[in-house]
């Protein structure tokens, strides 16, 4: 399979404006059509290592991202995201189009991929064993994840933990990692070789930048990992880093709270969650410095 990087930029723009770019994202095939230059940049830069899919393969999720038409478009340049040709989200300023794309794909997976228990968590792995980092936005999981994948860990996902209902393994879906606010500069300093997309200002969550997953994330893209540990991260400037065990029962409840499709899966979701927690040691982790986190992660 060819990677997106192998497509000439002009051809990529033509492809996206025409039949659309179809690519593999973990277990899914996604197709995106867009006439926006910013979106061509987004895929050329941040999805460079993703495999292109033939246009006659089955497409799981179909998106289009275009400029809004009509009188509203004359007043203010806005982008509209469509899933299955139906508008998803309210239109947002053009520069936020890449962010809309990522949010839209998260939504589509969480809503439709019901053969997985999907948790709002980052997942990284080493030697085939997965570390789950759950957390609502703001807890620091994406920043921690972005840092550790440049210190020997493989990225499975920065946002969606896909736990198979069939075998309990966590399936990889490496995609651009979201960095918000100060984390953007911190990670630039931490991993100067990392490729970051343009800084998007004034989103609902402040400044946002998306980071390309390291090339190493893709070689193992078909290989799921067995859950090994659950660590609930919390960024806390000042005090020394602290890793403290968390009872499994409590961890299960907290994970359920971070479940994106837990409710609808019913009994199957419950069993998958309990199986996961039973296999994992669970901890709370507070940290103020990435160096501390990296050092401690050697033993995780």
């Amino acid at each position: 399979m060819t990677a997106i990087a192998a497509i000439d930029r002009a051809d990529l723009a033509r492809l996206m404006a025409g039949p659309g770019l179809a690519f593999r994202a973990g277990p899914f095939t996604v197709r995106v059509r867009s006439s926006l230059a910013g979106m061509v940049d987004h895929f050329a830069t941040l999805y460079a290592d993703h495999d292109v899919q033939d246009n006659d393969a089955f497409v799981d999720f179909d998106f289009s991202l275009d400029r809004i038409g009509g009188p509203r478009g004359w007043l203010r340049p806005l982008a509209v995201l469509r899933f299955d040709t139906k508008r998803l989200f309210e239109p947002l300023p053009l520069e936020q189009a890449p962010a809309m794309m990522e949010w839209g794909l998260n939504w589509a997976i969480a809503t439709h991929a019901l053969h997985f228990l999907i948790l709002h968590a980052a997942v990284i792995a080493r030697d085939g064993r997965a570390l789950v980092l759950p957390g609502p936005p703001g807890a620091g999981k994406s920043t921690l994840c972005a840092a550790l994948i440049h210190r020997g860990w493989r990225l499975l996902s920065d946002e969606l933990a896909l736990v198979s209902l069939h075998d309990g393994l966590i399936h990889p879906i490496p995609r651009p990692v979201s960095l918000k606010g100060q984390a953007i500069d911190v990670i630039r300093g931490w991993a100067p070789q990392a490729v970051l997309g343009r800084r998007i200002t004034a989103t609902r969550k402040g400044d946002l930048s998306l980071m390309r997953p390291p090339a190493g994330s893709h070689g193992d893209v078909e290989r799921p990992a067995r859950p090994h540990r659950v660590i609930f991260p919390q960024y806390l400037a000042g005090p020394p880093p602290r890793l403290s065990p968390r009872p499994r029962a409590e961890s299960a409840i907290e994970l359920a709270r971070n479940g994106l499709n837990y409710g609808i899966l019913g009994r199957a979701g419950f069993h998958a969650l309990i199986d996961l927690v039973e296999q994992c040691d669970c901890y709370d982790f507070t940290y103020g410095e990435l160096d501390d986190a990296a050092r401690l992660s050697e033993s995780w």
Binding site: P19, D62, R76, E90
Partner: protein, 376 residues
């Protein structure tokens, strides 16, 4: 849009063929599945497709990737039905003290009675009907139990109360379910008023719930009236399919069709029934006599045929949009006399324009983006 796109009619035919002849699903190419899944999903037929394939023993034979989507849709439909039945119990408990007949309509009726259209169906609002004299008490009882008016605009609320056949929709504060409380099946202002009294009289009680459902003829007639007279076509193809399923189910009894025609005459709903029968035969009847050439069909039949296309962008060409617009206007015209209609439409039009030019996009609708907000 994928290259060499088939016409809207062909796309619909593809979905219907897969639904009606599931044994042929194994020969669909991945590219065809890429069309069938979104088309069926947007038409509210994906879960039904899953059930049809499973019943025919075909589900395991289709490729894994599209199969996941079918199974997911069925899971959601089962979940909806489960939640709906619980919700109906709560509503029954809330309204029972009033001592008036509470008649479930449409989807809620199908689910409560275990009728064929309930399988593989999603449910949105819960429709029920009470006598007009009990409307205020019903509203109070529901409010006490946590349902509040979903529409906050005073004009909208007045519109419903004065002219329409239902209260403004009510949404439960915590559970977010929506109830539409009707007092008739058509607006009192409508050109062809439908007397609700015979419907109440012919309704039958449910076995395990303190509520009633309309007689089989009335279920079909209400569905036909809703589909062909109200000008709203969100799930048109599915709604017609519901009618077809009901017809086949009840027609097992030999006298049913005759009674249905009589009932339509009594209630003044012969026109929507005729349309329902015509379009169901055109779209679903495998042994339909050779279809009437387009030249010979009435304008209305052509318009409705457009409205019965899958609700997907690939089928939403400009002729379809025009047809939908015309039928929307017709729906309003049927509902309200001209002296009420013109100011109402003028106001709606003005609101659309105002929203269009406003600089700030308005708040996303909660149910569409609630999950999405969690993901940002």
């Amino acid at each position: 849009m994928p290259p060499a796109c088939p016409s809207p009619g062909d796309l619909r035919a593809l979905v219907l063929a897969t639904l009606q002849r599931p044994e042929q699903a194994a020969i669909l190419t991945p590219g065809q599945w890429s069309l069938v899944v979104p088309l069926a999903r947007q038409s509210g037929l994906l879960a039904r497709l899953c059930v049809a394939l499973e019943t025919a023993g075909m589900l395991e034979r289709i490729p894994e990737a599209p199969r996941r989507h079918l199974e997911a849709a069925r899971l959601v439909a089962d979940h909806h039905r489960h939640d709906l039945l619980i919700e109906l119990r709560r509503i029954a408990d809330t309204l029972e003290p009033l001592g008036v007949p509470v008649v479930l309509l449409k989807g809620a009726a199908y689910a409560a009675a275990g009728l064929p259209p309930a399988r593989g169906r999603t449910f949105s609002d819960i429709d029920l009907m009470v006598p007009r004299t009990a409307l205020e008490q019903a509203e109070s009882a529901l409010m006490l139990a946590g349902w509040v008016a979903a529409k906050t605009d005073p004009y909208d609320r007045a519109y419903y109360r004065r002219w329409m056949h239902q209260l403004p929709p009510m949404r439960h504060l915590r559970r977010l379910t929506v109830i539409d409380v009707h007092h008739a099946i058509a607006p009192p202002t409508a050109r062809h008023r439908v007397d609700p009294a015979p419907i109440f009289a012919a309704s039958t009680p449910l076995a395990d719930l303190k509520m009633r459902i309309p007689a089989p003829e009335d279920l079909i007639l209400h569905s036909a009236s809703h589909l062909f007279n109200e000008g709203v076509f969100t799930h048109a193809l599915r709604d017609l399919w519901d009618i077809d399923l009901l017809l086949r189910h009840f027609s097992q009894e030999s006298e049913f069709r005759h009674r249905l025609a009589e009932r339509a005459r009594l209630l003044g709903l012969t026109d929507p029934l005729a349309r329902a029968l015509f379009h169901a035969r055109q779209l679903f009847d495998a042994d339909a006599s050779p279809s009437i050439p387009w030249r010979n069909r009435s304008v209305m039949a052509l318009l409705f045929d457009r409205a019965l296309l899958p609700a997907h962008g690939l089928c939403r060409t400009w002729p379809t949009s025009l047809a939908l617009g015309a039928l929307y206007l017709r729906g309003h015209w049927l509902r309200m006399p001209l002296r009420l209609l013109l100011p109402h439409l003028a106001r709606k039009g003005w609101l659309e324009v105002r929203q269009g030019v406003r600089a700030e996009p308005h708040m996303p609708h909660r149910t569409r983006t609630q999950c999405a907000d969690d993901l940002r």
